[in-house]
Symmetry: C2
Subunit: 651 residues, 2 copies
């Protein structure tokens, strides 16, 4: 089923429905496959069209499908047993995969190869990262920071072809973070000691290690000198515009925003499909059939907002990637003495702050969503084979690497405070913080709709976020000003108002993501707009409910309007639930990609789960520690107390 095309899938749905229709005469329980099939006829839209829209066109969808099939058929990329293999085995497979993928580095255009790697990141994030260490960090550092002569030298040694060397990247000193210099080496020289740092929470495919230099001298020519140069006499020459080299930092953050959407889609695919076939209890004791999990209001409330978030993050990822591409175009065409330099620097500042805040916001939210999805599986969620535990462990690192999320959020907060102060001085602010251009009218604005139903309007909800964000940013800015007035230097003042900066950045990100979602809904084909509108409203109102304090604090909504928002979240959960399986199907992940028996396309979760358990834990094997158990259970009891029937205290 995992390889089936859309028409095959439809035929399969029809099949199940016929079975269902035939058996209509006497009530009987529906099978999981039938329970799933009946969800698919509820779609008000063409699933395939939504897939094309998400992927950015039919052509991209077909390329992704080609990649998924290639991976599934490649024994090197077998994933079904990944939850049982040891760290050493995972490492060995990672090296095997290099051989397959390295071929495509030079054989495919970069845009296509990027899609290939995005597909791989979903199924094997450990390999994806290890590959990224060589090509992103190691080779990327050569490309970005080596002089032309240095670059040629390393390419001729095999750095691009991954021949003769595999790159590593050493950056952090023990007890220190990222404010320190980078070095690299590729073979063990006298005085150089290396070791493995061992087991990690996840992504054990990455062979993180430690390196120690004892009286080692690295030749000056090994220092990459495209930007900063150092002379034989030790004189350092900094580049004229250091900021212009920041692009690479932003790239990793954008990739994590994109990954957040993709992983959220994967998690909600598993939890969502399971909820369509798992039945438990019934409000009516006479029902022959128990109720589907997804038909409980509370289960809808647990999953539908996550589905909405996955859509929101998907569209945010697409837009952030565009923002980044625009920036890179500008950076590549700007020289330090250009007329457009100021504009480029503004774009850089905005993209840097936005991507920092979104990286933190999206990875935090997604990590929580993975765990929430895992918990909706009940006891099954604790099985490694469900996939979500590993997904959690693999994903968690996104919250701390390439900038700790708290620090990145504070960076966005600092940018917002600085924009606010500029806006007060009359300077026009960019689109991302447009609300700062209307402080006079916005700060004290309340929701002016005549009826509660009027709230269900993109413009009103965007205004709500605008008003509240303007206020929390103002709060952070005012706190900062107070500190300055009290005599603190700016750095100390920023520290002092970090809690309000954090709140400002968080609220800003909610509103920002919502705007990206609205934009995507407005640009969607007619046939998709109704369903996406509901999903978008759900994202917007659920986010307001989660942050109700600020909307009431700044009096945008009255308590009674807030009650309406809460009630409407429930209504929207129920409406989105009607076609949530088609909304999930549109993500178009094959069973291989999902790698979870509970998330299979056809809904046959129990048979697939039990098959998986038996395949990975074959019966009839010799017991691994039988002698130990036998010696425990057949031991002579000498020093134990005599057993007495009434000895109940001794449990």
């Amino acid at each position: 089923m995992s390889e089936s095309s859309a028409p095959q899938r439809l035929a399969s749905v029809q099949n199940h429905l016929q079975i269902d229709a035939c058996s209509n005469e006497e009530p009987r329980r529906k099978t999981p496959i039938e329970s799933m099939a009946e969800e698919r006829v509820k779609a008000s839209f063409n699933v395939r069209d939504l897939t094309y829209y998400l992927d950015g066109g039919e052509k991209s969808t077909k390329i992704r499908e080609k990649f998924m099939m290639e991976l599934e058929r490649d024994p090197t990329f077998r994933m079904y047993d990944m939850y049982d293999v040891t760290k050493d085995e995972i490492r060995e497979r990672t090296m095997e995969k290099f051989r397959t993928i390295v071929h495509y580095v030079s054989a495919e255009p970069v845009s296509v190869f990027t899609m290939r790697m995005q597909t791989i990141s979903l199924i094997d994030p450990g390999f994806w990262t290890r590959f990224g260490v060589h090509y992103g960090l190691f080779f990327g550092a050569l490309r970005g920071s080596a002089t032309s002569a240095q670059f040629s030298h390393w390419v001729s040694k095999g750095a691009l072809a991954l021949n003769g060397m595999v790159g590593c990247f050493a950056m952090t000193e023990l007890g220190h973070g990222s404010n320190l210099r980078d070095t690299r080496t590729y073979t063990l020289m006298p005085g150089v000691n290396i070791g493995d740092i061992g087991k990690k929470m996840g992504r054990d495919g990455i062979d993180n290690g430690w390196i120690q230099f004892t009286n080692v001298r690295i030749p000056r020519t090994n220092m990459l000198m495209k930007h900063t140069k150092i002379s034989r006499a030790g004189e350092v020459k900094e580049p004229p515009m250091a900021q212009l080299t920041y692009g690479a930092l932003i790239q990793g953050r954008v990739a994590m925003v994109v990954d957040s959407g993709n992983i959220a889609k994967k998690a909600v695919t598993i939890a969502g499909r399971y909820a369509a076939v798992r039945r438990q209890f019934s409000s009516n004791p006479h029902d022959v059939q128990e109720t589907k999990l997804i038909d409980y209001a509370i289960h809808q409330y647990r999953l539908m907002p996550i589905l909405a978030m996955a859509y929101a993050f998907h569209f945010t990822g697409v837009e952030t990637q565009k923002l980044y591409d625009t920036l890179m175009d500008k950076l590549e065409s700007t020289q330090p003495d250009d007329a457009g330099l100021q504009d480029t620097l503004e774009t850089l500042k905005e993209t840097h702050a936005t991507s920092a805040g979104l990286k933190a916001f999206c990875t935090w939210s997604t990590l929580n969503a993975i765990e929430a999805c895992r918990q909706t599986l009940g006891g099954h969620g604790y099985s490694a084979y469900t996939g979500l535990a590993t997904t959690y462990n693999d994903f968690a690192v996104h919250c701390t690497w390439e900038g700790d999320n708290t620090i990145l959020t504070l960076q966005l907060g600092r940018y917002l405070v600085s924009c606010y102060r500029e806006a007060l001085n009359g300077k026009a602010q960019p689109e991302g913080v447009d609300y700062l251009n209307h402080l006079n009218t916005l700060l004290t604005q309340g929701c002016a709709v005549k009826t509660n139903e009027g709230i269900l309007d993109f413009d009103i909800i965007q205004q709500a976020w605008g008003v509240v964000t303007a206020n929390v940013v103002k709060k952070a800015g005012d706190d900062f000003n107070e500190c300055l007035k009290g005599g603190m230097n700016p750095e100390v003042a920023y520290e002092e108002c970090s809690q309000s900066r954090l709140a400002a950045a968080k609220i800003h990100s909610f509103g920002y993501v919502f705007r990206r979602f609205v934009q995507a809904v407005k640009s969607a084909p007619d046939g998709l707009r109704p369903v996406l509108t509901k999903v978008c409203f759900l994202y917007g109102l659920y986010s307001i409910e989660q942050n109700a304090g600020f909307f009431l604090q700044y009096r945008y909504f009255t308590p009674s309007q807030m009650d309406y928002v809460r009630a409407q979240v429930n209504v929207l959960c129920r409406e989105v639930r009607q076609e949530y399986i088609p909304l999930i199907d549109a993500f178009n992940y094959t069973d291989y990609m999902i790698n979870s028996p509970l998330g299979v396309y056809d809904g046959n979760v129990y048979e697939k789960y039990f098959d998986h358990v038996k395949r990975q834990n074959p019966v009839g094997q010799p017991h691994p520690y039988l002698p130990l158990i036998q010696s425990l259970l057949r031991r002579e009891i000498e020093d134990d107390e005599p057993l007495e029937d009434d000895d109940e205290d001794d449990e």
Copy 2:
């Protein structure tokens, strides 16, 4: 250091301070050990006294210390390598531990043995659970549900002594939850198939399996018939008061409330100690020394509320255990025809709902706290050796087993709705929901303090929670009544208002935990009360900040009072930070128990971490997959594109 007594520790602190004093002449960087030592002189209270108060007296502390030392010296319980061992090795060790611990089952009074097992649960939750399967589930089922003759039979076969048999417990059918019957077997008979369900998220020491019966007949005499009886002819006789057997269900939940406090203490010990020695950046570029993480306002805001929560949950655990003990006393002394039956049933209902809600509330909050603590360690938090990743994976199961947290929260919500309806009819409600006895005055009450500073008052904060909880419970009750009026049956009506029930239960639990904390502060010895008061205020105000929407919605606080609450949270974070290391030390976990080089008592985190990495990943070993790497890096390149210097698109 991990075994050092309190006096030894003090001497050690003095030592470091002298070193520090001697070197005072010229500024130099403090070592991690010195950075930690300077924290310990800040205590305004006697740490040992606080330990005694937490443990319930000096005697309990000494017993716990005896257990910790015994475990540390027992090679069977070696834990330093647990983050690297495979599932099969963990299982084997679990069996080895049985032999040690089984001795104490009959040699120790139950209260002492319970403390021993609580200590073990902190260091090896997998073994703790597996042991609990035999003694809690299997033997407990015999003790609670077997007739006297059946009990004697199984004890004589070795069920208590764990001789000749090791118990298991089969309960859940695939695709079903806990509404189904239990069976048990202990050896493989014809028609019985068993298997392992394989790798889990955590607690791999538990050998969860599956069992399949194919035309197997289990003798009627194997059914435990103390309560429900079945005759040879198949007639079922139910017990007169089935509820009176519910005690066992509650016990597990109480244990998880207690465990939540203990694990939160462990997590914040690791994150808190690391934050006292890890330094990063400085607001002043001329500082010779970087700033401690804990001296950043935002880091205080990340950790101090968790420290406060750990204290809150500790005291809640103690009180919940007492509630449970009271209930069990009543249950054991109540016969179905007693005059006190009604009172016992009320206590049962209250304890059942309270423990269900607290189990969910405390395990959810603690799981989040573990992850939050892990993230404060930055990149180190992703190392398995830090311990928090494993702690997370082990702890996560608490959120779904013995009652899924969402379902349990809804059960508490249902209880609250039912109490609310009783209160409307004039029936007095028990202490846990006392706010329902004052609905007339409470519902519309606002905070009447004259100055903002007046908010810092236990009575005011308790009133705040009372007012808000009364309102959210009323909201759930009113939603329920609306549904009934609309013609729904009660079960459907409860389903329909599940979102407001969930909110009611959550807010109720916050207020409930706060009251338990206040009670413990008021009962504390004079010398401890000032510091505990600050911690308790922090818990109360931080919780209000997190739920600001409800306090503004029901107009208990004005927006300006809410601003004061937010500001005060920061102030309290800073105050508690002053003596947070002594507050952590009072938890009195040895280094062995913490099992994390980043959380060691003396603060020497980097040396211990690096030693640990090298011990677990020895250098100089043959590379496990060197031939694979060699064949990759020395391969013939045939079909790759020729390498070109300007081929930059191909990254």
